[in-house]
Amino acid sequence: MRHHLVLRVVSKILIPFILLFGLYVQFHGDFGPGGGFQAGVIFAAAFVLYALVYGVEHAREVLPPKALAILVPAGLLIYALTGFAGIFLGGKFLDYDVLAATPTGGQHLGVLVIEFGVGVTVAAVMVSVFYAYAGRTSDVDAEDW
């Protein structure tokens, strides 16, 4: 898609806003609609758009597969370790009340952290699946469609 000038320009303008919106959905999930799952897929969609317009090779330089192989388990570990942190601080598994000075503060902290873990895993898995599919074929000419 290297010759589609309009697509290239428009997506260059759009991608930062998609990423910013993904971060908003991630960290504003307590107060508005959204959360880790939604933010993860929105974040991944920005990378997929970049890869579609500028080529998968460039996307691999921005977000290398090796980094993804770390991020996919990292999100799940963040979630599970938050659960164990509850045990070590005297509560139960995934009990956020004990994470901060007040139960409400602990709940806010716990929800924020586990949502971040969800977002990391979801975004990394989505981009990984896309890489796995897109990596199996070289670029298809526009006429071939």
Binding site: D30, G35, F37, K66, G110, V125, Y131, R136, S138, W145
Partner: protein, 205 residues
């Protein structure tokens, strides 16, 4: 036009377009068009979820259904054929099964509570506790988040584990690296020319 009428018309037109795109997906044989129509179907479904006040679901449907899964379907198309194989079409048994199942589902909806009914069985069990607790104990305005992340934290941990497993499965089966990449991560120069899949059987035949 009052607000309630407006909602009915929006729902009606969205559902009509949803049905039309579903029928079109069945009839069209060109798989590129089918992938595009599936994306349109997901986008319409996302619109319907917004109309039903399920904004969190609409987000996911729009990003996954209309965005990423459409791209994945196109990626699969690039590896396989672009046209659906024509199979012997009409099967009376299948028609009967579909009609009976559909009729049973429509009959079952008559037993369902009215949409948004506060006295529906699903809304009187633990939901009042969640709504009150989300406001007083957790102080998280978005009840969906407080249920998903706190009250039902175990379930969500399981869901993330499912996504993790799916991702790991794809990584092991398909691999993240390109086929023509060696162990050091550098691309070898002798790439296959053209980039078409080797097996072109059935492609635009």
């Amino acid at each position: 036009m009052s607000g309630a009428d407006m909602v009915i018309w929006v729902n009606f037109s969205l559902l009509t377009m949803l049905c039309l795109s579903a029928v079109a997906i069945l009839l069209v044989r060109h798989l590129f068009a089918v992938a595009a129509l599936t994306g349109a179907f997901s986008l319409l479904a996302a619109g319907l979820f917004v109309a039903l006040d399920a904004v969190d679901v609409a987000f996911t449907e729009a990003a996954v259904g209309a965005g990423i899964s459409t791209v994945l379907m196109l990626g699969t198309l690039a590896l396989t054929s672009r046209r659906e194989k024509i199979t012997p079409s009409f099967s009376p048994v299948a028609l009967v099964v579909v009609l009976v199942t559909g009729a049973a589902l429509i009959y079952a909806t008559s037993d369902m509570p009215v949409f948004g009914d506060p006295n529906a069985p699903g809304h009187v069990h633990v939901v009042p506790d969640y709504i009150e607790g989300s406001e007083k104990d957790l102080v998280i305005p978005n009840i969906v988040t407080s249920v998903l992340a706190s009250y039902r934290g175990y379930d969500t941990l399981g869901e993330v584990a499912v996504i993790f497993t799916a991702g790991i499965g794809v990584m092991f089966l398909l691999g993240l690296r390109r086929e023509d990449e060696d162990d050091e991560g550098t691309v070898r120069k002798n790439r296959r020319p053209g980039g078409r899949p080797l097996d072109e059987e059935g492609d635009e035949a």
